[in-house]
Amino acid sequence: MADITSILPYYIISGLLVGSIYGLATIGLTLIFGVLRVVNVGHGAYIMIGMYVTFWLFTLYSLNPFITLIPAFLVGLALGMLLFYVALKRLLRAPELSTLISTFGFGVILEELAKVLWGADYRGFVYSLGSLYLQGIPLPLVRVWPAVIALGLVIALYVLLYRTRLGVAVRAVTQDPEGAMVCGVDVERVYFLTVALGIGLTTASGALLAIYFQQGIYPYIGHLYTLRAFVIAVLGGLGSPIGAFIGGLIVGVIEQASVPLFTMLGAPNPFGLSVFLTFTLILVILLLRPQGLLGR
C-alpha cells in the first residue's frame, strides 16, 4: 500500500480539476430544478452538443478551442429557449410525469439529430498547450485551464444570483413563486431566463469537457454525463448551485482515486467498478440524506 500514497496526490489533483468542470456541468440541471421544479432528464444531450460545437469549430475552422466556449454558450441559450417554449411552458402545472417525459424526449431528439447529421462514430481532436509541473507531477495545461474557467463561470453565476436584481428575482421564485408574483416579479420571464441560462452553462461545460478529454465524442456520450450530473446534484442537494459545484469536486476525486485503488485490489475492470461506485452513492445518499450533504 506504499504505492498508493505516493500516487494519490496526483489523482486527487486531477479529480479536483475534472470535478470543477463536472460541477459546472451540473449547475444547469440543479438551477432549473430549483426554479421550475423540473428535472431535465435529457441533460447530457446539451453537454454532447457543447462538445460537438468545440470539435467542429476547431476541426473545420481551427478556432481556438477556448474561444469556442462563446458559441457553445450561445447555442445552449438558443436551445434552452426552444426547450422552454416547446416542451416546458405548457406543462408547468401538469403532473411531474409530463415534464420528466418531455425533457427526456427533447434530449432524445437532439441525440438522434446529432447521429443523423454527424454519424455515430467516435470523434476527437488533438490540442496541446504543454504542461505545468507541480512537485514533479505533470499537469497538462489543457486540463488546468478548463477547470479554472469552470470555476470562473461558477463565480460569475454566484455574482449574478446574489448581486443583481435578476438574481434576486430568481432566488425569490425559487423560494416562493406565488409570493414573488405578488411582489411584481414576472415569474414566467424568470423561468424562461433560467432555462436558457441553465442550458447555456451546460453546453459551455460540454465545450470545456471536450478540451479536457479531446477524444471519444459521439452522439450518446451525454448519457454518462446525465447520470453523473444526477449523482452530483443529489449529493449537493437538488436545487443548490453551490452544492452542485462542491458535489462535482467530490465526485471528481472519488472517480479518479477509485480507479487506481480498484486496480490495486485486482478488479477485472477497475473503470467499470469506479462508475458502479458512483451510482451506488446515489442510492446511499437518497436513503440517508435525500436533502443532500449540504442541505438542511
Binding site: F33, R37, V39, V41, V86, A87, R90, L91, A94, P95, E96, L97, S98, L100, I101, S102, F104, G105, F106, V108, I109, E112, L113, K115, V116, H223, L224, T226, L227, F230, V231, A233, V234, L238, F262, A267, P268, N269, P270, F271, G272, L273, S274, V275, F276, F279, T280, I282, L283, L286, L287, P290
Partner: protein, 334 residues
C-alpha cells in the same frame, strides 16, 4: 374506469387475432406484408407496453431504469441454459432453472430498488432508477459477472441442447408464443388489479398521493407491489427474448433504448388504459418494421417528437383521447 365483460372480451379478441395470425403465418407463410418478423415485433412491443403500463400507467411514476429488469431476465434465462449445458443436464432443466433465476433476480432488484427509491417522489425516484440501471451495467462489466464485457454466448449451448432444428423453432415461434404469454399475463394482471382494491389504491396514488395516504392507503406497499409485478413481467419478457439473440453484451442488454420505447408505448397508447399498449405496440412495431427498410435507425427521430407532442397536446394518449372525444367507444374500449 369500471371494466365490463365487453371490455375484457374486446381485449382478448385482439390478442387471439394476433396470436392466430402468428400461428397462421408459421404454417402457410407470409400473408402479403404480414411476415413472422413483423408479428414478432408487434408481440414484443405490446408485451413491453402492457408490462410497463402496470407501473408507469397505474402509478404515474417514471422508471427510467426499466430495461434493467429485461436485462436481468435475459441474463437469468441465458445463464440458466448455459449452466444446465455445462452440468450435462437437458435443455428443459435449463429453461426451468432460467425461469427461476429470472423471477428471483428481478424480484430481488424490484424489492431493493422499490424499497429504497419508492419512498421518494417523482423526480428523486426517476434519478434513482436511472442510476440503478447504469450501476448494474457497470457492476456486470466491472466484476466480470456472466462473462462481463466479453458477452455471454447463448446460441451455442442452445443448439447443442435442442439440436439445430429445435433451436430454430425455439428462436422463432416458441419464443414468440412466450412473448405473447407475457403480454397476456400482463393484461390479466392489469384486469385483476383494476377490478380489486389494488386498482383503486394505485389510482388514488396517481391522482393525489398525500390524500391517499391520509385516507389510510399504504402507498409505499402498493407502489412496491406495482413496481415488482411490472419488473418481474419485464424480466420474463427479457427471458423469452433471450432465445433470439446469439450472445448478450452488457451495453446491449442494458441499452436505455428499451426504456425509451417502453415509455413511448405507454404514453402514446394512453397511460393506465388496457387497450393502449395494443394500439401503440401495433403502431410502433409496424412503423419500426417498415421504416427499417426505408430509413434504418430513424425510428427514434420519428417517435421522440411524437412523444413530446403527445405529452404537450394530448397527455391522455390515443386510447384516452378516443374515450374522451368519442364517448360511444367507452363501451368497448378500456
Amino acid at each position: 374506469m369500471t371494466l365490463s365483460r365487453t371490455h375484457i372480451l374486446a381485449l382478448l379478441t385482439l390478442y387471439a387475432i394476433l396470436l392466430g395470425l402468428r400461428i397462421l403465418v408459421e404454417v402457410v407463410g407470409p400473408l402479403g406484408p404480414i411476415t413472422g418478423q413483423l408479428l414478432t415485433l408487434l408481440a414484443f412491443y405490446i408485451a413491453l407496453g402492457q408490462a410497463f403500463n402496470i407501473f408507469l400507467g397505474m402509478t404515474g411514476y417514471v422508471d427510467f431504469g426499466y430495461v434493467a429488469f429485461m436485462a436481468l431476465g435475459m441474463y437469468g434465462m441465458a445463464s440458466g441454459v448455459v449452466r444446465a449445458y455445462e452440468a450435462g443436464l437437458t435443455g428443459y432443466y435449463g429453461i426451468v432453472f432460467g425461469l427461476i433465476q429470472t423471477i428471483t433476480l428481478t424480484s430481488l432488484l424490484a424489492l431493493m430498488v422499490g424499497g429504497i427509491a419508492l419512498r421518494l417522489r417523482g423526480a428523486y425516484f426517476a434519478i434513482a432508477t436511472i442510476s440503478v440501471n447504469e450501476g448494474l451495467r457497470y457492476l456486470v462489466e466491472g466484476l466480470d459477472i456472466w462473462e462481463g464485457s466479453r458477452g455471454l454466448i447463448v446460441s451455442g449451448p442452445l443448439i447443442r441442447l435442442f439440436g439445430s432444428e429445435g433451436f430454430s423453432l425455439l428462436a422463432t415461434i416458441i419464443s414468440d408464443i412466450m412473448v405473447f404469454s407475457v403480454a397476456l399475463l400482463a393484461l390479466v394482471i392489469s384486469i385483476v388489479f383494476l377490478n380489486t382494491r389494488i386498482g383503486y389504491a394505485l389510482k388514488a396514488i396517481r391522482e393525489d398521493e398525500d390524500a391517499a395516504r391520509v385516507m389510510g392507503v399504504n402507498t409505499t406497499m402498493y407502489k412496491v407491489l406495482a413496481f415488482t409485478t411490472s419488473g418481474i413481467l419485464g424480466g420474463l419478457l427479457g427471458a423469452a427474448w433471450s432465445f433470439k439473440v446469439a450472445s448478450i453484451y452488457p451495453p446491449d442488454a442494458f441499452n436505455i433504448l428499451y426504456t425509451i420505447e417502453a415509455i413511448i408505448l405507454v404514453m402514446l397508447g394512453g397511460a393506465g388504459t388496457l387497450a393502449g399498449p395494443i394500439v401503440s405496440g401495433t403502431l410502433y412495431g409496424s412503423l419500426k418494421y417498415f421504416l427499417a427498410g426505408i430509413l434504418p435507425g430513424f425510428q427514434l427521430l420519428v417517435f421522440a417528437p411524437i412523444l413530446v407532442a403527445v405529452i404537450v397536446v394530448a397527455p391522455e394518449g390515443i386510447v384516452g383521447a378516443l374515450r374522451v372525444y368519442i364517448p360511444a367507444t367507452r363501451r368497448f374500449i378500456a
